[in-house]
């Protein structure tokens, strides 16, 4: 009986504390009263890769339309205990990654051994690629390739890799595909060349 009373008091205190502390944040959080503000693509990619696979296989972004991802993300906010900001970030990533890929029209003539100087490949990698490919290039998700494997993805030609980045690519055996441009529609040709140069320099053997 004493234990039960203790737990009840503890839970009541927890509710009151949470209510008291968190309710005033509704104004600054900026999520109440309107459609969510646009989330951050890069943070969303990390939330998505760090959380979804803990309970179930990660779903391919192309499985659902924007509006379907919106409701699904809020359903997962309840299920997975995500914050409102994490939910908005995830929506930003998924709705950017479910668009049809355009065919690559980039011509690669000379080997890409270094960046052009107009774009920083490491910055692009850390913003767009790191959530799935990891800081060590070995991949954080099932099916993500190991860039450090000499016979792996980086053994392919520049032209093939640029095509994969541009159009998206599903590795053999992977349950899902990398979205076109990693889901970052702002990625330019220079960005892609720079990030490939970074991959070769950082992880290539």
């Amino acid at each position: 009986m004493k234990t039960s009373l203790f737990i009840k008091i503890g839970l009541s205190t927890a509710i009151l504390t949470l209510s008291g502390l968190l309710l005033p944040l509704s104004g600054s959080a900026g999520s109440v009263g309107d459609q969510p503000a646009v989330g951050d693509y890069s943070r969303g990619a990390k939330v998505w890769s760090n959380n979804c696979g803990r309970c179930h296989n990660i779903r391919d972004a192309r499985e659902l339309r924007d509006d379907q991802w919106f409701s699904t993300a809020f359903h997962m906010r309840i299920r997975g205990g995500l914050t409102g900001q994490e939910t908005r970030d995830t929506i930003a990533f998924l709705t950017a990654s479910n668009k049809p890929a355009r065919k690559s029209i980039i011509t690669v003539k000379a080997p890409i051994s270094s960046g052009t100087g107009k774009s920083d490949g490491q910055v692009t990698y850390n913003k767009t690629c790191i959530a799935c490919h990891g800081g060590n290039g070995k991949g954080t998700l099932p099916g993500a390739p190991d860039f450090t494997n000499p016979k792996g993805a980086l053994s392919k030609s520049d032209a093939v890799l640029i095509k994969h980045i541009t159009e998206g690519f599903q590795s053999p055996g992977s349950p899902m595909a990398m979205p076109a441009k990693g889901g970052n529609t702002d990625l330019t040709v220079e960005d892609m060349r720079a990030v490939l140069a970074y991959l070769r320099k950082q992880f290539g053997k």
């Binding site: 927890a14 359903h75 995500l82 914050t83």
Partner: protein, 426 residues
């Protein structure tokens, strides 16, 4: 005849001398004029051809262009077609279903429909969401059974809190609220004690506060609830009623008026790792009894019994490898008054499961051990389960599994079983 005079001849000679060059000059002008005319004709022809080409271009442009009226009509059409993108209310259906075949060492094999569980979402902006999961099953007698797995209205109060009211999946532990759908569960069956009327609560009707928030570089999530609580099951044994189990499904009416309080708090110290702890406490009462003759004596003065639950769960995922485990203990106190006065009991269960998706393939191996311990030997069960899955897609999974069960000899809990299952999450 009078011939012209000398003067006249001279005049004529001068005139002829003057006219002859003039005649020659006129011929030259004519030729030049003719050339000019011909040139003008060519230029005119060129201009006409150019004009024709221009007219053709104009016609082509006209054919490929739209008027303002047409453009406005097109704009209206586009706006109408994209209306679904920005409504205040979104309607969405998700869910899962499975079909399969099972065969036991003491049971004939049979195909089974499993369940069809659509989940409906109705969402008003980012403020409120109505969620409901129905469960359709085909029973052993062929009748279709329908149940409401959960139905809640969720109010997103702010970025860190949602208030959830209705019938909800129990927040105690992870399996019931997050892992039981067939496209998520890596084996075709639930671990013993985590199914209906086991040790772990399945659902409850009440009110929840839940959400997540960061703690430094770590993340956390929580759920706190108050609910109607479970009802208790009794069985007729040796001429008296004995406490038989806990109804894990939430009820729409709190017949004993006793509420249950509980919650879960989980911390995610690093990516891929979640560790949670759950508690619940309150009172539970026997609300219906039936003796061995099938008659149900009236209940009078049934004593509300202490009801306490403790749970611990952990999940660790690294790339293609996932390790998870969960422990739940439900304890019910004894009663000294009422028709069902009897001792209390403890229902304990736990499982540990490892799974691995083989690199560059779509095959996944799974192994699980579970131990369900109850006050009744007929319910106790130890189980090893081994499975091989094929991922047609992330949400479409074919499973084949074998369960080695150890329970009371001759009972269903001792029956080894084979399963084949196809699960589809949508």
């Amino acid at each position: 005849m009078k011939y012209p005079g000398k003067f006249t001849r001279r005049v004529l000679a001068v005139a002829i001398t003057l006219v002859l060059p003039m005649t020659a000059s006129a011929d030259a002008d004519y030729d030049a004029l003719k050339k000019q005319v011909e040139q003008l004709q060519r230029q005119l022809q060129q201009v006409q051809e150019a004009l024709k080409r221009q007219e053709a271009k104009v016609n082509e442009v006209k054919e490929n262009s739209v008027t303002r009226v047409e453009a406005k009509a097109l704009e209206n059409e586009v706006n109408a077609a994209s209306e679904w993108k920005d409504p205040n209310t979104l309607i969405h259906m998700a869910g899962y279903a499975d079909v399969g075949y099972s065969s036991g060492s003491n049971q004939d094999g049979s195909f089974n429909v499993g369940s069809f569980s659509p989940i409906f979402h109705f969402q008003y902006k980012d403020k409120v969401m109505l969620e409901s999961e129905l469960e359709f099953e085909v029973g052993e007698d062929g009748e279709t059974e329908v149940g409401m797995e959960y139905m809640t209205i969720d109010w997103f109060v702010n970025d860190y809190m949602a208030i959830v009211g209705g019938k909800f999946l129990s927040p105690v532990g992870q399996f019931r609220q997050n892992l039981h759908p067939s496209w998520i569960n890596k084996l075709p069956s639930a671990p013993p004690g985590f199914g209906h009327d086991g040790a772990a609560p399945v659902s409850d009707a009440g009110l929840q506060v839940r959400g997540g928030f960061p703690i430094g570089n770590m993340r956390s999530n929580y759920a706190v609830f108050v609910s109607n609580g479970p009802e208790l099951i009794t069985g007729w044994e040796d001429g008296e009623f004995e406490l038989d189990g806990i109804k894990a499904e939430g009820t729409g009416t709190d017949r004993d008026g006793e509420k249950v309080w509980g919650g879960r708090f989980a911390i995610l110290p690093m990516n891929g790792l979640e560790v949670g702890m759950s508690v619940a406490t309150g009172k539970a009462t026997v609300t219906g009894i039936e003796d061995d003759t099938g008659t149900a004596p009236g209940l009078m003065g049934e004593q509300a019994r202490d009801y306490d639950v403790f749970g611990f769960d952990a999940i660790w995922q690294y790339k293609s490898f996932a390790l998870r485990g969960e422990y739940v203990k439900s304890k019910v106190g004894g009663a000294i008054t009422g028709a069902t006065a009897s001792d209390g009991g403890e229902w304990k269960t736990w499982y540990a499961q490892a799974s691995y998706l083989f690199p560059t393939t779509k095959f996944e191996g799974v192994i699980r051990y579970a131990n369900f311990d109850t006050p009744h030997a007929s319910q106790d069960q130890k189980q090893w389960a081994l499975g091989l899955n094929y991922l047609f897609a992330s949400n479409i999974i074919g499973k084949i599994a074998f369960e080695s069960n150890e329970g009371q000899t001759g009972s269903s809990t001792d029956d080894d079983r084979w399963f084949i299952q196809m699960a589809y999450g949508f």
